[in-house]
Point group: C2
Chain length 285, copies 2
């Protein structure tokens, strides 16, 4: 397994691979890898001959310096995990290479980034779209894999890839969960024992709404209220957002109808902000 930290060197490696007819799968990460990331990598291995994983904690997608500073890191552990699934290259660019002095170019996906996580984290998706464009340009992948846990991110990046004619296939993979339903996330490591016990309430709320919708409840306001009750009953927390949205357009859904709907949430439990989502309605076909 190679470690590459310079964009030009990454491009040369990829050009050589592609010149030999090998397709490249790419999993961009911010490190502190968990089973969710490893599942993306395994899926990448199934879809292409070569696998590149990037590990880069991207400063432009953090809107709070404190959150950036607290983001957990473990490069040695991450490299071992990448090797264990047969990764070919780990791309680990430095801040200096990614954002050199005078840096001033940003990619914006307008509209899709205004609500949900975009509302409480201004600039976040501009940072995500920009770094993913840069990583794609360095890695030149045929296919890139993202977790459905970051549902809005996946929608933004799918739209960006289509809009900018990037020659990359975007694949969203199912959220990997702990046995009690908590979505895997690098941030889970920062939960206190009490918060960790409380956190599965998010998935319980999502699955409850799914069942409620199946049982005939179509009213978005009522479904959201049910989810909120379950979350707030589990212990002290602060709901950042809890929304029923169109699965593609991310616009609010007042009543379940023809189109698929997603329940998406972000909740602070202790000092950690957790996000999760579930497709609660497939739409009428």
């Amino acid at each position: 397994m190679l470690t590459i930290s310079e964009p030009r060197q990454m491009q040369r490696w990829s050009a050589r691979e592609r010149g030999q007819g090998r397709r490249i799968a790419f999993v961009p990460t911010m490190g502190f890898l968990h089973e969710g990331h490893l599942e993306l990598m395994r899926e990448g291995k199934r879809r292409a001959e070569a696998l590149v994983v990037s590990i880069y904690v991207n400063p432009t997608q953090f809107n709070q310096a404190e959150d950036l500073a607290k983001y957990p890191r473990d490069l040695a552990g991450d490299l071992a995990k990448c090797a264990s699934v047969g990764c070919d290259v780990v791309y680990t660019p430095s801040d200096r290479e990614m954002y050199p002095p005078g840096y001033r170019t940003y990619v914006n996906v307008e509209g899709l980034t205004a609500g949900l996580c975009g509302a409480s984290r201004p600039g976040h998706f501009r940072g995500v779209a920009t770094i993913v464009t840069k990583l794609f340009n360095a890695v030149q992948p045929d296919v890139a894999l993202f977790g459905q846990k970051d549902f809005q991110q996946l929608a933004v990046l799918a739209r960006m890839t289509r809009d900018l004619d990037l020659p990359v296939k975007i694949v969203g993979c199912p959220t990997v969960r702990e046995p009690d339903g908590l979505a895997m996330s690098s941030r889970n490591a920062r939960l206190s024992p009490a918060a960790r016990l409380q956190a599965p309430c998010l998935y319980r709320a999502l699955t409850h709404v799914c069942e409620s919708a199946r049982a005939g409840e179509r009213d978005g306001t009522k479904l959201i209220a049910e989810a909120r009750r379950i979350i707030e009953a589990a212990g002290p927390c602060r709901v950042d957002y809890l929304e029923l949205v169109d699965a593609e357009e991310l616009t609010p859904v007042a009543f379940l109808g023809d189109r698929p709907a997603q329940l998406a949430l972000a909740v602070w439990i202790g000092e950690v902000r957790l996000i999760d989502n579930l497709g609660v309605w497939e739409g009428k076909r």
Copy 2:
């Protein structure tokens, strides 16, 4: 010579070329080709084995619908000119392919786009940066050639290419001029006979400032005033901007000093807005 109008097809052609070890030179244009474009193409032929020219009048870089509607077009003539210099592919995407319904992704180069043409044409460089990113992603060139006449555009695109790690070498080529000094431009076709006679005053003003600087004048305000006198003496016109700027940062230069300086201008003569520029000072080395 092939004509390709679909991004995926363009990507497939380029992938095949590059798979055979052929480098690709790219000249993006809005058509109505003149000798300036042909010079870019010839330079492209010298730098790579294959030459792609795009012809696309990009709506998102026009801030006035009227200017877009009036932009001259001549596809048949353009194709003949491309063939005459040995172009391999003419890429002619449609508006529907470039900006399909729901399109919402834009590339912004912050700062560099605020002054000069950016000030009088809001959104112009956002449109330019976005379409060039899209064209690069479709054509996958090794080298792309741009005229120095569009001096701010060249600075913006060079910065964007570096910032986004696009694997493309950006080459700026000298402005090609009519015998009387008027910079070649597709817009020249819209000048009335009287305006055409008046228009060379722009280049006269630029070369005058260059000589004045060489003769010892360092004061930006005085140099600009000299240029303005020459332009206004030539006939009725409206100066949009006339600025002495740092050749890389595009920031105003009060006195000629260590760094290279460029005199840049945009002037309305009759109903046509003409731009031009000249490196009037090389800086002290």
